[in-house]
């Protein structure tokens, strides 16, 4: 356990603020947690909900009935909303349901807590429908919106919330947490901490799912191979990759982290790399490409990822990246 007692790694600022608010009973009615995926937004939100519901002595105790109900996802006063899986959006219907439920007084305790995950995917009518509730909800309600970024939300939504932005954690903190809490050996912890890019959630997932790391290694090896491959190979790879857009997005993220390292090395930066385990190869590429080409590759890789998210024909986007942007290095 860390010193906060909330069992949250890092984010002292945010945790301190919320703890103080709870202790003084000065909780705000609407919070917006922002930060990159896996940084700990929903963990923090759920912890806050547990603290608010807990009936034990040292909140959250984890043993009382409300705590157990939250843990099993069955607490009647906790409303957890995420975008509909079918459309990938949060819809006005969901918001209206939530408003109806929030209008009722709490079943068990003194509060209702609504956690709206992925609020950046709420469509405009849904986001607008929430405005009035967000400004003046019933006195017992606390709303917590989660989004990677406040700039993608309606300004009218953001201005009604207390924004708590969770920033990526320093690698050292993640490394320590992995060693102490998850019993990861130091060498592996160091690597995972760097790969995580400051996202504790990602690091924990990588610990639980060992194939995650292997897959990542494989992607980088494939990239190395592609750099030397002729066009035919590249087109073949793009076609295969385009079959699973979600996976392709992951691959592109891995590649972008790789090119960023190359760019940083080419620029002569001393800062920590994302892929320290492949320093030699990175150095060679950096010396060969120089900062301009490296930054162009980061750009191109990200642009391809953006294309995939915007529903461009995936094969076409990947082919452009692989055939035109990726240099050939023999």
């Amino acid at each position: 356990m860390n010193e906060t007692g909330w069992d949250i790694v890092g984010h002292e600022w945010a945790v301190g603020l919320l703890q103080r608010a709870v202790a003084r009973d000065e909780l705000f009615h609407a919070y917006l947690f922002t930060g990159p995926p896996g940084v700990g937004k929903s963990t923090l939100a759920l912890t806050l909900a547990r603290v608010l519901f807990c009936a034990g002595e040292s909140r959250p105790c984890g043993n009382c009935q409300p705590c157990r109900l939250v843990a099993s996802g069955n607490h009647p006063d906790l409303h957890f909303l995420s975008p509909e899986s079918r459309s990938g959006q949060m819809t006005i219907g969901q918001i209206r349901d939530l408003q109806r439920q929030l209008a009722l007084t709490p079943n068990m305790g003194r509060r209702r807590v609504a956690i709206l995950e992925g609020f950046e995917r709420a469509n405009p009518s849904a986001a607008n429908a929430l405005l009035k509730t967000l400004e003046e909800p019933p006195p017992y309600a606390v709303l917590i919106l989660l989004s990677p970024d406040s700039d993608v939300l309606l300004p009218t939504v953001v201005s009604r919330c207390q924004v708590i932005s969770l920033r990526p954690l320093p690698a050292s903190l993640i490394r320590r947490a992995l060693e102490e809490r998850h019993g990861v050996d130091p060498e592996r912890a160091r690597l995972l901490a760097h790969l995580s890019g400051g996202r504790m959630g990602w690091a924990v997932r990588a610990v639980q799912d060992s194939t995650l790391l292997q897959r990542r290694q494989r992607r980088l090896e494939e990239l190395s191979a592609l750099l030397q491959a002729p066009l035919v190979e590249r087109f073949r790879y793009a076609a295969q990759m385009a079959r699973d857009t979600e996976l392709a997005g992951e691959v592109l993220d891995v590649w972008a982290s790789w090119w960023r390292d190359v760019m940083l090395l080419a620029g002569g930066a001393k800062g920590p790399l994302t892929n320290p385990d492949r320093g030699e190869e990175l150095e060679k590429l950096a010396a060969r490409l120089g900062p301009r080409a490296a930054s162009a590759l980061v750009d191109a890789t990200q642009a391809a990822g953006e294309c995939l998210r915007r529903n461009v024909n995936p094969r076409l986007a990947l082919e452009v990246l692989l055939a035109f942007d990726l240099p050939r290095i023999s």
């Binding site: 918001i95 009518s125 800062g271 990200q302």
Partner: protein
């Protein structure tokens, strides 16, 4: 639970309103003379006082105080009921949740009933821009001639989404962003009332962050007050906002001047490690560079924000850049501050912008030559400026002799009339066409804000000729042609053209055959003269080498 600061301190009288004097004065005069309108539209950015004013208005028209000038008195039963949110005759409707025509019908049925206790029933429809078109139309008659005991107040942040027929039935008040000084003064007052200990510099920082929205500023103050037991200092505000150290920003600008990439990247890394938000940091850098640019151009205004002791350093720094360079840098960092939404690595856009900014600008764009596959015309995502020197020179030449009215926009409009244009020598038509071709991309981006799909359609077309004052746009497909030919689309294009060229042109769409291009295709491999051996054809060779083609001898 304690109410948020912005709810607890919602102004209860007109005197407490911050900013918006123009609205308050007009409303109070109307109230004093008993000439209130039956429908108001309050438009303006978030957190500027729209809902607050609507509630004040509801109180004032119903207040029981004898003297109209005293209303709202906040002492009578009605005022107290409004303050507690319990007046039955003040009906606040969430326009974003009740968007349908049925909601409006229900409203219309109820409008007819007399108020319960107050003089007027006041309907406040917040977020009114979200009503559907049908709902708006259903509201029209009621809004034009409501029963005498009803007042409508529509509030919205996006007045441009509201039908003109609605707009014309309302008295419109535009709420402005609140000035920095007003926000600071208000925050000082609140801090005093709430017993919050806060440095005045910290307040300025908060107010600046709020960009004219009082609610944002009050929320932030609230949040910070909840965080610290001690006073709110500049450091606390910085930690909360993720603002970087001013010195780090200045140091980054120095490293840009030195083109010292290693140092700059280290500065960024350190700033982020110390808790600066990369986006916020990019914004700060952009602001700093903008100040440098203004200083470089001889403006003294920005110096006012710089501490006395730093002025010389600041001016020295400004002198190290050319204005051209600074403009480019501002653009790069501004872009970094807005793009990269939900990037997996939040500081990446900032780093990219920095690397690009620190690169020498004279070098040609990276060519994959030697390293990359050398297909003809490699796809350039972002054509660098100056990529088509020939074309630009032509465009420049075309611009010089073009009609004078564009050079002097201040000239009376009579000059810009068509007759004069008709007298232009016929030679101007091809020149004009060339100019349009050269600025086709500008036209596309001018159309974009109006209609995204129209821009996409125009991409598949090309300017093919100018007849008199009609521009011909060629399309290969009938579908595209008819879409652009459509009256509303055409009007958008014509307007954009007019803005771009400073002269009015009408637009006509024509069909062209594929291959019929105005500009000759860039000379690729010229077709082999006498069809030598197919294997020697460079295209075939490329296919074999790069795409793994298998040559087949047709004679076998």
């Amino acid at each position: 639970m304690v109410q948020a600061l912005y709810r607890r301190w919602r102004p209860q009288t007109f005197e407490q309103m911050v900013g918006q004097e123009h609205v308050v004065r007009t409303l109070r005069n109307a109230l004093a003379s008993g000439r209130t309108h039956h429908a108001y539209l309050f438009a303006g950015p978030r957190g500027t006082g729209k809902t607050t004013t609507a509630r004040l208005l509801a109180k004032a028209v119903n207040c029981l105080a004898e003297e109209p000038g005293d209303r709202p008195c906040n002492a009578c039963a009605i005022c107290r009921a409004v303050n507690e949110g319990q007046l039955i005759d003040l009906i606040e409707i969430d326009g974003a949740s009740n968007t349908g025509v049925d909601d409006v019908r229900e409203l219309r049925e109820r409008v007819g009933y007399r108020p319960n206790e107050a003089r007027y029933k006041v309907y406040v429809i917040d977020e009114v821009h979200m009503l559907s078109t049908n709902a708006f139309n259903a509201l029209l008659k009621t809004l034009e001639e409501p029963p005498p005991h009803v007042i409508f107040v529509l509030a919205t942040t996006e007045p441009q989404k509201i039908l003109p027929t609605i707009l014309s039935r309302c008295q419109r008040f535009d709420f402005r962003r609140i000035a920095l000084n007003d926000i600071v003064a208000r925050l000082e007052y609140l801090a005093e009332q709430e017993g919050i200990d806060v440095q005045s510099e910290a307040l300025t920082l908060i107010a600046r962050q709020a960009t004219g929205s009082l609610r944002d500023a009050e929320s932030l103050l609230d949040q910070l007050a909840a965080y610290t037991d001690g006073g709110i200092t500049v450091e606390v505000v910085r930690a909360a906002l993720g603002t970087g150290d001013e010195e780090a920003v200045a140091a980054l600008a120095d490293s840009l001047a030195d083109r010292d990439m290693a140092r700059g990247l280290t500065i960024i890394n350190e700033a982020v490690d110390q808790g600066a938000d990369p986006r916020q940091f990019a914004r700060q850098v952009a602001e700093h560079l903008r100040a440098l640019l203004l200083t470089r151009l001889g403006s003294d205004a920005t110096l006012l924000h710089v501490v006395n002791s730093q002025r010389e350093v600041f001016q020295a720094q400004a002198a190290r850049f050319s204005p051209h360079q600074l403009a480019r840098l501002v653009r790069l960092f501004t872009q970094a501050a807005v793009e990269g939404k939900a990037a997996w690595q939040p500081q990446l856009p900032l780093e990219l912008a920095f690397v690009e900014a620190a690169l020498p600008d004279a070098e040609p764009p990276p060519s994959p030559a030697g390293t990359g596959p050398s297909l003809p015309a490699p796809a350039q995502r972002r054509p660098a400026p100056g990529q088509h020197p020939a074309r630009q020179a032509r465009a420049a030449a075309a611009r010089t002799p073009s009609p004078p009215q564009r050079a002097q926009p201040g000239e009376p409009a009579v000059h810009a009339g068509r007759p004069e244009e008709a007298e232009l020598p016929p030679a101007s038509a091809p020149l004009l066409l060339e100019e349009i071709q050269a600025r086709w991309a500008d036209l596309l981006s001018a159309v974009r804000p109006f209609n995204l799909s129209l821009e996409a359609l125009l991409r598949s077309g090309q300017p093919v000729g100018v007849e008199g004052d009609t521009l011909l746009i060629g399309f290969m497909h009938d579908f595209h042609k008819s879409k652009v030919q459509d009256a509303s689309s055409r009007r958008i294009v014509e307007q954009a053209l007019g803005k771009l060229l400073g002269q009015s042109l009408s637009v006509r769409c024509v069909m062209i055959r594929p291959g019929q291009q105005q500009e000759p295709a860039p000379p690729r491999q010229s077709p082999p003269a006498a069809a030598p051996s197919a294997a020697e054809d460079p295209l075939v060779q490329a296919a074999v080498q790069k795409l793994g083609a298998q040559p087949i001898d047709p004679s076998r």
